[in-house]
Symmetry: C2
Subunit: 419 residues, 2 copies
């Protein structure tokens, strides 16, 4: 690997996806390696939201529920997402937060009274280092439903398969781990779980928008995801959920708000779940956030997701090569797997006691990644708007921070609320 | 009552709240009597959201979680709301949808393992004509938790008190009914429920922002509400919930996402609920919608809510008087109570078979109210931006539509998705 800046420039020249960066508004002088946490602002989102505010809400007022299609936004937006994650038409709903959506699909999968239900089994398997909210949500549901289930936290990916037995109701995993970027083999784990009669719930937060997904081919039962990372929907943008077509109508979720009703505007006193994916909605859709996301997803209409993944892996390989060469001897450890099929679009490093301060110093130097407790530096390579020169410059600044021990200055050790 | 337009003009002249209309952007030529469904657009919301998009998200990117205070929005916004609804500091969280929030407080109130818990009792009382999503959510929770509870739908407000006995866990009511505008006596029902050891959950969707509320003095246990009606937060704006200070920490809600954790950014593998109202949050806050709402709530900083309520009741009385005089003989029935203490800020009429078409014709004539199945015309009198001349003109147009039988033209009978 040629690690010169000239080589980086040549890679950018040859990058067929380089022009995609023009679809985003990015601040000058910043190298943004935080797209795995909060995606960048796509162009036209501000105009779209402004129009939703001024013309739809301001001028047309409640008429816009019909005339501007507000009432259909959970499905309008979902249809754009279905292509990005390889889901069949009508299998995705955009609604609520990822956490709330996970609660719904967990409960639906466990509902013993339905065809899909596996609630007569005791175990829910997950990983100890899964994104915490997923495990907290499972804990909350288990407690609410009388401790009929047990959440089993597995320590390593290799230990998952041996845990699958006929007392496993659900395997609940995040496809790409938020801490170390490890990527599971989705299809293989689904097949293994199905062999013992278990169902699988995938959290796609760190994979959707960074790589091609084919939920249909991988035989996914349920999935949830976040739209504000690689999908660039904006801070706290609505989450989504996927239900395999053969489960829709054969399981029931408990957050049965009026938008999940077959005929919400009949205002029937009794609940009748919608016969389609709308049964996984709940309350009134958040129109402003949905409009921003709807616009943001237009970025994807012509993106080759396989090429996108190759680029992101190339960027990460380039980053790893540069770190190993230019940041050696500073006690940094790369905790992301080297094998390309075992990782997503981020690279994580650890440092025994300097990780927080190093990231603070990097941010002050215009290289934005993030820190995760207790000792992890995360760098995301959102391939729509990051290039090889960006990576080269990021590592160059990092090497300078390490060599001059800039990170050890007191101001970089003061913790902020969000780390 | 003097029903001339000159009298209406004089009432507007004398209205100390008339200048509040200047805080909103309203379309020309429209009389907006739909503020009980979707509040109007306050000035400065568009600029605020645009700034959140461009400066906070676009330029500062993930740094804005700290620098722009995104992480604290659920409480920043809640503190503005606490004044409007008479809630103690730290007792309100703005988050999720009203439906999701209702699920949380229902489950928390019923949680048998806590101090607040009344889940050893069987009955949940509600009204048959409560807003449907509230009853659907209760049904969903009851089903999920193994049918240990029964939802009892009461037909009339007068029948509530006799149903209160020591097998009642919860009384779940909407303060002002969405169909007929009937207003309950919150303090009296709380006292009666508490006498038999039951707890009460109030839905404030149709009262907050239309009248003074004092949740503390009324001894409210739990409440939820909507911010896109009289609070003008925008379509699908985040909901909120209230938990009485003596219940906070003494009950547990099951949607235990990471924002409900004592230290979310420690990313602990185990759930430890926050010791304060944050334990009722769930996932990542929807920043764009929260920013719009935060701005919208600034309207309320200096509003005298008692004067506001008096004005809204005066507007409704004026409307009722005009309807009785100018729309007589057209088979319309006023279903909203005449007694001022028994109603909110809306007036509802029924017509045996013409209600939908009449409302369509009114909307075509620039008078925007809404229709509710099967035969109700709703008119909301949001007193921040509606005046007496507006009411006079609305009824004048309605009388014309009735006299000329304009509403009976075929185009007004075609149903839209949202009715």
């Amino acid at each position: 690997m040629n690690l010169s800046i000239a080589a980086a420039e040549a890679l950018d020249e040859a990058d067929a996806l380089a022009e995609m960066k023009g679809r985003f508004i990015l601040p000058e002088g910043v190298i943004y390696l935080g797209g795995n946490s909060l995606g960048a602002l796509p162009k036209h989102v501000n105009q779209r939201v402004s129009q939703t505010l001024a013309s739809e809400w301001g001028a047309d007022l409640l008429r816009s529920w019909n005339s501007a299609g507000w009432v259909d936004l959970p499905r309008t937006v979902a249809s754009k997402l279905e292509r990005v994650i390889g889901a069949a038409p009508g299998s995705v709903a955009v609604t609520d937060s990822t956490s709330v959506n996970l609660f719904k699909v967990l409960a639906a999968a466990l509902d013993k009274t339905t065809t899909a239900g596996v609630g007569n089994r005791r175990k829910i398997l997950t990983e100890r280092n899964n994104f915490p909210t997923d495990n907290y949500i499972a804990e909350g549901l288990i407690r609410l439903t009388g401790d009929r289930h047990e959440l089993i936290r597995i320590d390593t990916p290799a230990a998952i398969l041996p845990e699958l037995d006929e007392d496993v109701a659900l395997l609940m995993l995040t496809h790409v781990n938020y801490l170390n970027g490890y990527r599971h083999d989705m299809a293989a784990l689904n097949a293994a779980a199905h062999r013992v009669g278990a169902l699988v719930i995938w959290d796609l937060a760190h994979s959707a928008g960074a790589m091609p997904l084919d939920l249909t081919a991988a035989n996914v039962d349920f999935a949830v995801g976040c739209t504000y990372k690689y999908l660039n929907g904006g801070p706290g943008a609505p989450g989504y959920l996927y239900v395999a077509p053969h489960h829709i109508g054969n399981c029931q979720q408990p957050l049965s708000g009026w938008f999940a009703h077959e005929t919400p505007f009949e205002f029937s006193p009794d609940y009748q779940p919608a016969g389609d994916i709308r049964q996984f909605l709940c309350g009134t859709p958040p129109v402003l956030s949905m409009a921003a996301l709807d616009q943001a997803l237009d970025v994807w209409a012509d993106v080759d997701l396989s090429a996108l993944q190759e680029k992101s892996l190339d960027l990460a390989d380039y980053f790893i090569g540069l770190i190993e060469k230019k940041c050696a001897g500073h006690n940094l450890t790369i905790i992301t797997p080297r094998e390309r099929k075992l990782r997503g679009s981020q690279v994580s490093l650890t440092h025994p006691d300097g990780a927080y301060a190093m990231m603070s110093a990097l941010i002050a130097a215009g290289v934005i990644g993030d820190f995760r407790s207790p000792n992890i530096l995360r760098f995301g390579f959102a391939p729509l708007y990051i290039g090889f020169v960006d990576v080269w410059q990021a590592v160059d600044r990092f090497a300078h921070i390490l060599e001059m021990r800039i990170w050890d200055r007191p101001q970089f050790h003061t913790r902020k609320t969000v780390t």
